[in-house]
């Protein structure tokens, strides 16, 4: 508080962006010190929707806790579940069938596209263009429809169980996904015309929120945020899980280190995800979708850490087990939390308008940060 008072004496202005602000996409509070329009300091205040998911999971069984994690990063809920299930499977040493692996990866990539679509629209809206938001929701809607067909829910699917997936794919799945791929390829190029090539968009994002490679590593940034700074950190490539090592896809890396390269990484990632889906959609192996597991899961005593690549970066699931049916301690290393910590560094010297662009390209999902 003292610091803030002294800042005011110097003719600076302290302004709250959030908790109820259109561009924070949730209840995040940023206390911004301004000099005119120039940002001197950004201080995030978190916890408005902190639910202590880690504590909650300590009282839930290994089957139950997975569903809670859908509520963390709700836009890539399926990938969160995936990470948790992988950790339990690692502890229990469950070998899951090929079919389940492929289904999981397919759903992961669909979720990633859905998440990036939403980010794309919201990002455009942050910069003041409304139309892309509605356009991106059309494709996202197609994906959620596919999800709904198979998983029974649109956002928090809870489709993954330890040992595989909950139910088998819907008979229409392949047809609908193929239709989606066609639609996506057609529309995504249009969107690039509307947004990516637009001079105002480019000038709003280029050389804004510069995060050098060293800083990105030091701040623990992962996912598209770090890849926009030239760090290769794609978990799917570095520590492949499921069948990612058998797939052909590129890790998208841009070396511009600014908002625009982060933007490009996400846009190009959508195309990569589409190519992954194309590789898999005709090659879903027959067989079980779920491995036989015991009714009550008990992880052996020990510590287990798995990581997956969510739409926002690296999600780490760290389970400390005492051999009971519930985890002794569980920690989620969420990507958004680390990415947010770099915001102050990036924002210094920028304008308020830049701050909005930066938050847009960091793709913050507040429940993911607060947990």
């Amino acid at each position: 508080m003292l610091e803030e008072v002294s800042a005011i004496d110097q003719g600076d202005m302290i302004i709250n962006i959030g908790p109820q602000h259109p561009s924070t996409h949730g209840v995040l509070q940023l206390v911004v010190t301004l000099n005119g329009e120039t940002i001197k300091k950004v201080e995030p205040h978190l916890g408005f929707i902190h639910r202590s998911i880690e504590k909650m999971c300590e009282s839930l069984t290994y089957r139950q806790f997975i569903y809670v994690t859908s509520r963390m990063d709700y836009l890539s809920s399926h990938i969160n579940n995936h990470g948790c299930a992988l950790c339990v499977e690692k502890g229990m040493q469950i070998e899951i069938p090929e079919r389940a692996k492929v289904i999981r990866v397919l759903m992961d990539e669909l979720t990633r596209i859905a998440s990036h679509e939403l980010w794309w629209g919201a990002m455009a809206m942050d910069l003041g263009a409304f139309t892309p938001f509605f356009l991106s929701f059309r494709e996202r809607e197609t994906i959620t429809d596919i999800m709904e067909d198979t998983c029974g829910a649109r956002l928090t699917m809870n489709y993954i169980v330890p040992g595989g997936v909950m139910v088998d794919l819907h008979p229409d799945f392949q047809r609908k996904v193929k239709a989606f791929i066609k639609l996506f390829r057609e529309k995504a190029d249009q969107y690039n015309e509307l947004v990516t090539g637009n001079i105002i968009f480019q000038s709003r994002m280029k050389n804004v929120g510069v995060l050098s490679k060293e800083d990105a590593i030091s701040y623990g940034c992962t996912g598209p945020t770090a890849r926009g700074s030239g760090v290769n950190c794609d978990i799917r490539k570095l520590y492949p899980y499921e069948i990612y090592d058998q797939l052909k896809f590129d890790e998208v890396i841009e070396t511009g280190c600014d908002s625009f390269s982060r933007y490009l990484v996400r846009v190009k990632e959508m195309y990569q995800s589409i190519s992954i889906i194309e590789q898999l959609i005709d090659n879903i192996p027959e067989g079980d979708f779920q491995a036989k597991t015991k009714a009550v899961l008990k992880l052996p005593k020990g510590e287990f850490y798995t990581r997956v690549e969510t739409a926002r970066g690296e999600l780490g699931v760290y389970i400390v087990s005492e051999g009971a049916t519930t985890p002794y301690r569980i920690k989620f290393r969420s990507p958004g939390f680390s990415n947010l910590s770099a915001l102050n560094h990036m924002a210094k010297g920028g304008k308020i308008g830049d701050l909005v662009a930066m938050m847009g390209t960091l793709d913050l999902v507040i429940p993911d940060i607060d947990r």
Binding site: G47, H50, S52, I217, Y219, T222, R329, R333, L340, S341
Partner: protein
């Protein structure tokens, strides 16, 4: 570098470190007092180059607290887990946020949820909880006055 080579190298850097068996990564324990210089060496030593701190956790073992740092090197792609036992009544450990800047937020989070005091941390205010919150919610003996599940 394989885990065995890593162990040898780490013993050179810190002879007093004790290794734990099991797990996919090298697990080692250090005393809280030794942690800070050790962290400096982990970051700076040629061949180790642990530049990426990806997870900072605290575990309440009822008798003591234990800090867990997950480190990896973006250059050599090897990872280690460093643990440090803390006294439960007065948990104190040096901050590492000048070495890995991501630690600033992670340490603030652990500080308020477990009550760990990170010495020399630039800004150890509450990040998630309200300023007047009492207690450390993730400790095992914490009782939430309002429990939604026990209706």
């Amino acid at each position: 570098m394989t885990n065995e080579e890593l162990k040898i190298k780490l013993t050179e850097v810190l002879p007093s470190a004790t290794f734990e068996e099991g797990g996919e990564w090298v697990n080692l324990s250090v005393a809280p007092a030794e942690w800070k210089p050790f962290a400096h060496q982990l970051r700076a030593t040629e061949g180790l180059d642990f530049d990426f701190l990806f997870c900072v956790t605290c575990v309440d073992w009822k008798t003591h607290l234990s800090m867990v740092y997950h480190l990896t090197s973006t250059k050599h792609r090897h990872s280690i887990v460093v643990k440090s036992k803390l006294d439960r009544t007065k948990p104190e450990i040096e901050t590492v946020c000048d070495i890995w800047r991501t630690a600033e937020f992670h340490e603030r989070e652990q500080a308020e949820l477990f009550g760990v005091d990170f010495l020399n941390h630039p800004d150890l205010r509450k990040l998630i909880l309200t300023d007047d919150f009492e207690g450390f919610p993730l400790r095992k003996d914490f009782e939430d006055p309002i429990n939604m599940i026990k209706l």
